[in-house]
Symmetry: C2
């Protein structure tokens, strides 16, 4: 008897994975909400008050579909970046846009290059379209441009992924290093430049790349610096030919009315973003102090999180994460060795950081057994 | 020289279509906003006031990602429908969920059956994954269950699409007719039952189908009766095996915080839905009066729109749509003959309907002239 539905062979081969388990899942299991939500690199400093007002106003108008062209937001983003609206596509977070991009170029068996331990949701999409992932190791705590380029020369991938700044290590390359990589890409390779954390990075991290260069697509988001992870608005900047190809596959009405209004207002409030940058900087310093006070070293961060080396192996760091969770503190950690010696703590307001500071010594002691 | 990026052959063959052009595009072109927005079957009666309050409150918490399991909303929907949360997947509107479903089952060359003139966004997804659409004609103003089943027997499709009630004709079949279709599906065929308009349909339209039946997936939305098209929340009810397959491909964090909160509050306010049903019923009657006063006949409607036969061919109806737009009234019309003799006018508050009533005689005269 034929099974119904008849899934594609590719789908049959896929696991029903979830790249990240949400903190709500743990909260439901324990029956206790986290008191410090510092695991998803959300911005507990919140969104711009002007964005909150815009979203609340848009809630009354939510009976209308959002503009499927995302016109006003694209015009504003274009002005912000000094490009044209034809260089910009808006979508359901970077996650959603990465899915569309992979669909546009990856067929079963196609090679894709990334770093072992880099963003798993990108890998989820590549696997989901049957692509073959080739992973190169980090050099220390940095993604390795030379190793990525060398592997690209070997396997001629359709996509080469790099995040700058990096997640989960918080490291970064100067923009000039990234721009140099572009000039050295093997023919036919598209660089996927994930700049989710660029708003929190030091000056000079943003690569100078011609928006008409067909070899690069860069991704930005309102989830991190702008503090609107739960709104689901990301965008990509690329040459108009590639941008228009998204129209072949995207969910045209996927960006809702509140999402577009909120992002537009947030973009207009650059003062708030500057305020968040100041808060993030202070929070990074405080987190580094907390690490030091517990005999741990932290890594330099160009992001809104701090990666802390727990000085032992992955089992130990996983125990620390677990013990912190038991004490109401939600954090995450890198997935692969040797990075999984570390924990990753998001920046947040002082009250959350002090909850972490109070829980960490106990969690370390419990993890040490 | 290799072109970058290297699109898949399937993507290269796809047009950069937009299934529907938004009214904002026309407004930008004309420089005048529509005074009566009656084209997208949105609910200008608005969402539940309780949902508006919930969305405004959630806007302050939008720095947090939404729960990737959509747990609370799925639990509430399960209770509402008398199924379990494992029977429900929530996603970025029915459009987004249809895309995931097609991806799960359709490979290039796979057959899919639908009706000529039925929902074009479903066709967009099928074409987007290389499926081959087999279209049967409506019988009069109804999708034709017998013809759909007969074609399914011939081509053994992976999917058979039917909407009940139907868009764009507004017709419906009794639920028993749909339930009977399920029992007669050829082996291996999954019925895609689009019930976007079911909240506005007469009693008995909802088919009694066991949620564990692997032959059917039914789609519902908060865009129509609940008045939240711009929030982008749809859901599907199906057997747990199929529901869990969505986890292989979906954008896990695609449902934002405001979207989940708004849908949850809207679902809890069934009184508002009952109020909208009353308003829709009155608006349908008023629209039918307006049609009659202009010498036109309207079709029976089980939806939140009225389909009006303009009594001539598609060119004439297209001219009526154009002339109404020039007078500030946004409506749409069926795409294919012979349905394109009609226009399709959404229900709305009295002020919008009276704007339509005032513009229609002039538009008809201009179209005739």
């Amino acid at each position: 008897m034929t099974q119904t539905p008849r899934y594609t062979p590719l789908v049959q081969s896929l696991p029903a994975t979830v790249p990240f388990v949400g903190p709500e899942t743990a909260e439901r299991a324990s029956g206790h909400p986290f008191t410090a939500r510092l695991g998803a690199n959300e911005s507990a400093f919140g969104p711009s008050p002007r964005a909150i007002t815009a979203m609340a106003a848009a809630a009354r108008e939510v009976w209308m579909y959002g503009d499927p062209e995302n016109h006003d937001l694209r015009v504003a983003l274009a002005a912000h970046h000094g490009v044209t609206p034809d260089h910009i596509v808006v979508g359901e977070g970077i996650d959603g846009l990465l899915g569309y991009l992979v669909r546009l170029v990856v067929e079963p068996g196609d090679a894709v290059v990334t770093s072992g331990g880099a963003y798993p949701t990108f890998n989820f999409h590549v696997a989901g379209y049957g692509g073959v992932l080739h992973k190169v190791p980090y050099t220390g705590n940095h993604e390795d441009p030379e190793a990525l380029l060398a592997r690209a020369s070997e396997v001629q991938p359709k996509l080469l992924y790099i995040a700058n700044p990096d997640n989960p290590m918080g490291s970064h390359h100067p923009g000039a290093v990234i721009a140099d990589m572009v000039t050295r890409l093997p023919e036919g390779v598209l660089m996927v430049l994930d700049e989710a954390y660029i708003d929190l990075a030091p000056p000079g991290t943003e690569a100078q790349i011609d928006a008409d260069d067909p070899r690069v697509i860069r991704f930005r988001t309102f989830s991190k610096g702008y503090g609107m992870a739960g709104l689901r608005v990301g965008y990509a900047i690329a040459a108009p030919g590639l941008i228009s190809a998204f129209n072949k596959v995207r969910n045209h009405f996927g960006m809702g009315r509140i999402a577009q209004a909120g992002a537009l207002a947030a973009l207009a409030d650059q003062d708030w973003l500057a305020h968040v940058r100041t808060e993030v900087s202070a929070a990074r310093a405080r987190l580094a102090d907390i690490a030091r006070a517990n005999g741990l070293t932290s890594l330099p961060s160009a992001t809104n999180f701090l990666t802390i080396d727990c000085g032992a192996n992955g089992d130990f760091a996983r125990a620390v994460v677990r013990e912190l969770a038991a004490r109401g503190v939600f954090i995450r950690m890198p997935f692969v060795a040797p990075h999984d010696r570390c924990i990753r703590v998001s920046c947040g307001p002082a009250t959350m950081l002090e909850t972490f500071a109070a829980a960490l010594p106990e969690a370390l002691a419990a993890a040490r057994g």
